[in-house]
Symmetry: C2
Subunit: 151 residues, 2 copies
DNA sequence: AGTGAAAGGTTGCTGGC
DNA sequence: GCCAGCAACCTTTCACT
């Protein structure tokens, strides 16, 4: 599916996010036309999902990040689907993973401050379908979070 | 620092990541010149950190994501600093947060497969400075992970 | 602080080789 | 894979509200 040149392109896109296609091609050892064609192909294949702007949460007034592990009281497909559908609608839940272990879902939640988180927990999160036990861990500091994959 | 127009611009950038500045301005209710000026200002202020390409981990051969909670055996500044410095060098650790609770750090680790994760855990992670107890939770499915903030 | 217009350079994209 | 060329966009500035 992906050859060595494709991987070099992906690495260049990750390392030089603002670079032009010509620069990416140079970093990958090809000229800009085949580079552009490969990028488009990888976009169509879904390898490259898109580009996203990265904001500083604190600068936007979002000071609190919490990792909340969540259990459901049922584990049939309907319960999981209902939970995931409703969780997907809540903007404060920025990430949601189905996980192994004692809990069912790992959620990353971002809010303005602790008061907003408490309100969110009590009025929104605990009212999601089939939610049972929850355990929250507050993030004190973001040590590393650049969205870079080990390609 | 940020007024209502700035927030509308950030929302537009998040919702339409491929849009031109003119389109973003239209979505925010202003024309392209002040829109461009505001974007540049927010970049200089660090509100907008940059743009990052998003890849499908599975398509690149990265099939395993694990959330690993980690304790240190010491909690002075030197120990935290040493751990964070070395953890930052490991590409497989894509996110690292200092957290409250029973554990000290929450790590998100991405590897090719379970075997690669086991090797990483035994030869890299457990050799980081001052690492004590660890607890790993395997991600079965990515329900939501779009990097969008609740602006 | 906003609008509208315009110039120049760069980029994205399509062809032919 | 490369080269040439075109249309579109971004950047920047200017005059004006």
């Amino acid at each position: 599916m992906l050859d060595a040149t494709d991987l070099r392109i992906l690495r260049a896109l990750q390392d030089l996010p603002e670079a032009s296609i010509e620069e990416v091609g140079r970093a990958a050892g090809i000229s800009h036309t085949p580079c552009w064609r490969r990028i488009r192909r990888m976009q169509e294949e879904g390898v490259i999902r898109g580009r996203a702007y990265q904001f500083d949460p604190k600068a936007i007034g979002l000071g609190i990040t919490v990792i909340t592990m969540t259990k459901l009281d049922r584990h049939d497909e309907a319960a999981l689907g209902a939970f995931e559908r409703e969780a997907g609608k809540l903007a404060e839940i920025v990430e949601c993973y189905l996980v192994t272990g004692a809990y069912d879902y790992a959620l990353k939640i971002v809010t303005r401050d602790m008061e907003a988180f408490e309100t969110f927990l009590k009025t929104r999160l605990s009212n999601l379908p089939h939610v049972g036990d929850m355990h929250s861990t507050v993030v004190m500091r973001r040590v590393k979070d650049d969205g870079r994959l080990p390609i």
